[in-house]
C-alpha cells in the first residue's frame, strides 16, 4: 500500500503510523454526555467499502492525513491534510 502525502508525494505504507477512523476528528463537546462520548470512543460504522482514516506521516513530513480508502480492495482514493479538514 502506498499513500500520496500532499506534502511529500507518494510514499510507502511503512512511513506512516495508523491512528484509526477519522471519526476522531469529530470530537464531541466535553459536556455532550456519556452517550455521545461512548459513541465517539467506541462505536464505529466500520464500512465494507469506502472509509476515512487518520494516518500520521511519521517518517516523513509529520503531517496528519485523512485517507479515503476502500477496505475491500485496499485501493487508496484520496489523501488530504487533516488540518484542512478541521478548520
Amino acid at each position: 500500500m502506498r499513500l500520496n502525502c500532499p506534502i511529500c508525494g507518494e510514499r510507502d505504507r511503512r512511513e506512516f503510523y495508523y491512528k484509526g477512523d477519522a471519526v476522531e476528528l469529530d470530537r464531541p463537546d466535553p459536556n455532550a454526555g456519556s452517550e455521545a462520548w461512548d459513541d465517539y470512543l467506541h462505536n464505529r460504522d466500520n464500512p465494507a467499502g469506502e472509509t476515512r482514516d487518520l494516518w500520521h506521516h511519521e517518517s516523513g513530513c509529520g503531517a496528519w492525513l485523512v485517507v479515503t480508502r476502500n477496505t475491500l480492495t485496499h485501493e487508496v482514493l484520496r489523501c488530504e491534510l487533516a488540518g484542512a479538514n478541521t478548520q
Binding site: 505504507r13 484509526g20 461512548d38 467506541h42 462505536n43 464505529r44 480492495t73 485496499h74
Partner: protein
C-alpha cells in the same frame, strides 16, 4: 457415519468412493425457532449446544459461503486458558474443559493436542507479570508453571537464548494448552448439530433482519425470507454489517490478521511458543509445517489478505527467536477478517430488540472460544439469562467503563489490541 481403522483401509483400497457427506444439504424451511446467522465455529457450536443442552432442534444455521470458509478455517489453531482478568478467566477455563472432552462428545477426531503453550519473558518486570498471570490462572483452577531459563532450554533448545535485545529470562508454561485441527472442529460441530436436527444451510447470505415494534420477526436471505422469533448474530469480521441490518452500530472494527506456514520439517517444536515481545508465535503441525503469525496489519480491512510490511515483521521476529529456521521456505500465507473490540474482549449479549442476540468481538483469539462461546450463547438464547462464565461479556461495559477486560493494559481504545 462410523469411522474406524478398518473403514480407512477399505476406502484406501477402493479409491475413497464410499465416504458420504456427514451433514444434510436441506432447503431452508419457511420458519424456525432459532436462526443462527454465520456458520463459523461459534455459529455451529451454538446450534449444537442449543440442540444438545436445551433440546431446541428446530434451528437453522445460515452461512453465506461454505462451512469452514471463514476464520474457523483460517486460524493458527491455538487453544489455551491463560487469561488473567475476571470475566475472561472463568470463560476460557470453561471453554478449555469443553475442549478436553470435545472428541468424546462429538465422536469426531478434532486432533486436540495438549502439547503446551509456553510464553517467553525477557526482563525482570515481564517475569513478575508472568508470575502474577500464572497465579491468576492457578486461582482459576487452571495450570501454570513459571519456568527458569534452564527449564525453558530443556523445553525448547532451538531458540536463541543469547539475543542481545531479547535474552530469555524464563517462561510461563500452560501444559493443558495446545492445538487442534481447525476444520475438523467446524465439521465435528456441523455434523453433531445436523444429527440432532439442525439445518445447516450454506450459500445462504442474510441480507436483512425483519423487526416489527422492537421484536424480531425473521430474516431476509439470498434464498428467500425465513420467519423466526429468535435471531442469533455470530459472524466474526462481518458483525458491523449484519448488526447494521438491525440498526445496531457496534463497538467493532474489522482488521486483517495474517498467518503463515512453512514447508514440512522434521519434528522441531515442542508445543506452542509465544514470543510476545516480537508479537510472534509459532507451533508445528502434525504434517511438519511450522505454523506462525504475528499481529494484525493495523488498518481497517475486509480483504482476507494482508500486506507486505507485516509479513516482513513476522519473518524478522521468527529470525530473532530462532535463527535455525532461516532456510525453511514459507509455503503459504493468508489472512482473516477479525472483529476487534475496544478492550480486546468479546460480547455475548442480548440487544434492545426482543429476540435478537449478539456474539462478536473475539479479536484474534476466538478459536479457543469455539466450544465455550457456543455453550454460553446457546444458554442465553434458550433461557434468556447469561451463562455464569460469560456473564461479563456485556455490551454496555464500554459505556459504563465497569468491568472492562483489557488484558493487555493498553486502554479501552480501538486499534490498541
Amino acid at each position: 457415519m462410523g469411522y474406524s481403522a478398518l473403514k480407512i483401509i477399505k476406502e484406501g483400497l477402493f479409491g475413497q468412493r464410499g465416504w458420504k457427506p456427514v451433514w444434510r444439504d436441506p432447503e431452508p424451511k419457511s420458519e424456525y425457532d432459532v436462526i443462527v446467522i454465520g456458520g463459523g465455529g461459534h455459529g455451529l457450536s451454538t446450534a449444537y449446544y442449543l440442540a444438545k443442552e436445551h433440546g431446541i432442534t428446530n434451528v437453522a444455521v445460515l452461512e453465506k459461503g461454505y462451512i469452514g470458509g471463514g476464520n474457523v478455517g483460517r486460524n493458527t489453531t491455538i487453544v489455551r486458558a491463560n487469561y488473567m482478568l475476571p470475566g475472561n478467566s472463568e470463560f476460557y477455563s470453561h471453554s478449555l474443559k469443553l475442549w478436553e472432552n470435545m472428541e468424546q462428545d462429538l465422536n469426531y477426531n478434532t486432533m486436540m493436542s495438549q502439547r503446551g503453550v509456553m510464553m517467553l519473558c525477557h526482563s525482570d518486570g515481564q517475569r513478575d507479570m508472568f508470575a502474577r498471570r500464572g497465579n491468576a490462572m492457578v486461582n482459576q483452577g487452571d495450570d501454570a508453571e513459571l519456568l527458569t531459563p534452564e527449564q525453558v532450554r530443556a523445553e525448547a533448545p532451538m531458540i536463541d537464548f543469547d539475543n542481545v535485545r531479547f535474552p530469555i529470562y524464563g517462561g510461563l508454561m500452560h501444559r493443558r494448552g495446545g492445538t487442534a485441527r481447525h476444520d475438523a472442529v467446524a465439521w465435528g460441530y456441523a455434523r453433531g448439530a445436523d444429527q440432532r436436527g439442525v439445518d445447516i444451510i450454506q450459500n445462504c447470505e442474510v441480507t436483512g433482519i425483519d423487526i416489527e415494534g422492537g421484536v424480531v420477526k425473521g430474516v431476509q436471505t439470498t434464498r428467500g425470507a425465513i420467519r423466526t422469533k429468535k435471531v442469533a448474530i455470530v459472524v466474526a469480521g462481518r458483525s458491523s454489517l449484519v448488526g447494521a441490518m438491525a440498526g445496531l452500530r457496534l463497538p467493532i472494527e474489522s482488521h486483517v490478521l495474517q498467518a503463515f506456514v512453512s514447508e514440512g520439517l522434521k519434528p522441531l517444536m515442542p508445543g506452542v511458543i509465544s514470543f510476545g515481545m516480537g508479537h510472534f508465535y509459532i507451533s508445528q503441525s502434525d504434517k511438519g509445517g511450522l505454523v506462525f503469525g504475528g499481529d494484525i496489519d493495523f488498518y481497517k480491512s475486509y480483504a482476507a489478505r494482508g500486506n507486505l510490511p507485516m509479513k516482513e515483521h513476522v519473518m524478522e521476529a521468527a529470525m530473532t527467536l530462532m535463527p535455525s529456521i532461516a532456510k525453511a521456505k514459507v509455503l503459504r500465507s493468508w489472512g482473516g477478517v477479525m472483529d476487534m473490540s475496544p478492550d480486546g474482549s468479546p460480547i455475548i449479549d442480548k440487544t434492545d430488540t426482543q429476540g435478537l442476540f449478539l456474539n462478536c468481538g473475539w479479536c484474534y483469539g476466538g478459536f479457543k472460544a469455539v466450544p465455550g462461546s457456543g455453550f454460553s450463547y446457546a444458554h442465553l438464547i434458550a433461557t434468556g439469562t447469561h451463562h455464569a462464565p460469560a456473564a461479563r461479556f456485556l455490551m454496555n461495559r464500554f459505556r459504563s467503563g465497569a468491568v472492562l477486560m483489557d488484558e493487555e493494559g493498553t486502554g479501552s481504545q480501538h486499534n490498541l489490541h
